[in-house]
């Protein structure tokens, strides 16, 4: 055993220098040179301010904006830092709801949200994406059906006609990669930015 101690320590130190220092720092350098936008978090700036990342969802609540998935993230209570409170789309603490399929808390939450959404658009079935929490709590996307479901509310809030909004959703729908991989999605932040460009709420 003792004859193994020297190679164990020496190789551990050398491999640490190689894989824990040289490799990540070289990757950081290469990333900053080759793909600076992605490497720094795909940030979006507007009028010189960072308004978010194209990959990270935001907690849209206003009637005039498209809303994203439910988010189960939490954060420190601003009035009492020892407590945590619900803080949707907290991008410094990603987490899913982790509610099981037979959880009463899940079913109650879905029932409450469904009632609200049905009042908003009684003519369509409520899409699953709008009443379920995403895995990360930061999902930047919704399905095209979930965007279309919200059209009547936004049309009312902004005084726009529904066809115009449907066309906007069509433009901002990203299909599967090569028509094969993934699912068709709408980036909520990008869609809302486009919405603001059409007319203020």
């Amino acid at each position: 055993m003792f004859s193994h101690i020297r190679p164990a320590i020496v190789l551990f130190v050398l491999l640490t220098l190689l894989t824990g220092v040289a490799y990540p720092l070289a990757m950081t350098g290469a990333a900053q040179a080759l793909f600076p936008a992605q490497a720094n978090g795909s940030l979006i700036t507007k009028n010189g301010h960072i308004i978010g990342s194209s990959l990270i969802g935001q907690n849209f609540v206003g009637d005039g904006y498209f809303h994203g998935r439910l988010s189960a993230t939490s954060g420190a209570d601003p009035t009492d830092a020892s407590k945590t409170i619900s803080s949707p789309y907290n991008a410094a603490n990603s987490v899913g709801s982790n509610l099981g399929p037979t959880s009463k808390a899940l079913l109650d939450r879905v029932a409450a949200d469904t009632a609200k959404l049905k009042a908003e658009n009684p003519n369509a079935l409520v899409p699953a994406e709008l009443v379920t929490a995403s895995g990360s709590g930061l999902d930047p996307h919704i399905s095209p059906e979930s965007a279309l479901f919200q059209v009547p509310r936004i049309a009312r809030a902004r005084g726009l006609n529904e066809q115009q909004l449907q066309a906007l959703i069509g433009v901002h729908t990203d299909g599967r990669w090569l028509g094969l991989l993934g699912e068709p999605v709408v980036n909520v932040l990008a869609l809302n930015l486009a919405l603001d460009a059409v007319g203020k709420p």
């Binding site: 193994h4 982790n98 037979t102």
Partner: protein, 569 residues
Amino acid sequence: MTINGWIQILIYFALLTALTRPVGGYLYRVFNGERILLSRPLGWLERGFYRCAGVDSQTEQSWISYTLAMLAFNLVCFVALFLLLLAQGHLPFNPQGFGALTPDLAFNTAISFVTNTNWQSYGGETTMSYGTQMLGLTVHNFVSAATGIGLALALVRGFARRSASTIGNFWVDLTRATLYVLLPISIVAALFLIWQGMPQNLSAYTNALTLEGVKQTIAQGPVASQVAIKMLGTNGGGFFNANAAHPFENPTALSNFLQILLIFLIPAGLTNTFGRMVKSELQGWALYSAMSVLFLVGVATCYWAESQGNPQLTTMGISQPIGNMEGKETRFGVANSTLFATITTDASCGAVNAMHDSFTPLGGLVPMVNMMLGEVIFGGVGAGLYGILLYALIAVFIAGLMVGRTPEYLGKKIEAREIKLTMLAILCLPLSILGFTAVSSVLSQGLAGLANTGPHGFSEMLYAYTSATANNGSAFAGLTANTPFYNVTLGIAMLIGRFAFIVPMMATAGALAAKKYTPPSAGTFPTTGGLFIALLVGVIVIVGGLTFFPAIALGPIVEHLAILTGKAY
């Protein structure tokens, strides 16, 4: 289920199968010491490492010496990582100013990364500094994977050699696996992932003011370099708490596809390396076929179950055209979430791109069963191969019993000593999984961690000890596991699952190497045909799985019946 979903799954499987032989050939050449493309740029580094460490690369080790070297190295790894986590507050690359981990969390995390488990009691972006992610987690992702590859090669050498007393040199296997296999593939994969949108920076978290005027702090960091090896080394410990569900840790469908390909790449390739080492690639393809059958059955079951959606949501008038979306990301949908869940638990990876805790009862059963079978469906890098080879020994032993003949595998007579050692290794899994689950389900410290009640709560505990013992690392993550009770018991389960399996396995390797070659005769059971593959699958399911049936019945199966009758907890 949709046609498109199945096409995605089949494209994945076809590409994996196509890559198995080239990867297997490359691994064979690397570990056989042949000249490869990278010998010129990296050979000097390899020789320099040996010189500094005082290792003679030409000298081989007995199984005992090889095992002791591996244990010594792992002990150094554990101590170094444990101390690093305790000293985090004083170390560089810590823009968020994270302090030390609690001792129990540091103990759990250090064991977790050394055993290639990567169970996440820690919270990624809320606990770990960039320095820890690079110097700690990334390093152990490399070396624990390299350790697994070395152990698998040692066992295969046991089969391939005749009347031999040595089974390779641990230091050489460790160094070559890191330099020529893990590092180059990780570099290419990391660049691809960055191109797809994964961050790679050392800046502090970004403060944004959202479109609606709310402050949003966006966690950043050297993500891609950690994630590339996290998948390739079947480690699975997330840079972020939400792991590969986090849009920064898995931005697109394409990054998702690459990540699941990385998980199976080396385990699949090693089946072919094994075939080449025992001079019959068909032997490797037989193992590949058995693994593939179990993989495809798993993914079909999981995909089907999740596609049904949650029946209780259907009765509320919710449209679930693609299935159960609680805990899943829109860009992955149900097909890619269930494919990922099956792959990550077949291999002992444990990364997740959807929350398994929110899967339907039968959808969540599949990951659990995959782990209970001992992580041999491709399995962890190296660990999958040595695991399934032990099952192969049991399979030929049972076949031998049926015809009343001394079993042989790859020209080696399988005798009482090997079977005893093999069973010792395999039985430590149910002992740890069922033992710890039973204990935690009667202790208040165990029950305190549950997020869900009823049968799903039991499943959370069962999943946790299964994942830890199988060195997987995924979770029914509602369980609050960052408590002294869970950190310590799960840590012990991880140690049992790794080392109580490895030591008897290595003793088997030594015993096999010493045996002389027995040429196949008319009575030898052929181990390349469909009969052997079917027998092997049967042994894995019956020997590996049946032990757990009563526990599964109390968790997912009861919950499935409950959901059908509209019960909630």
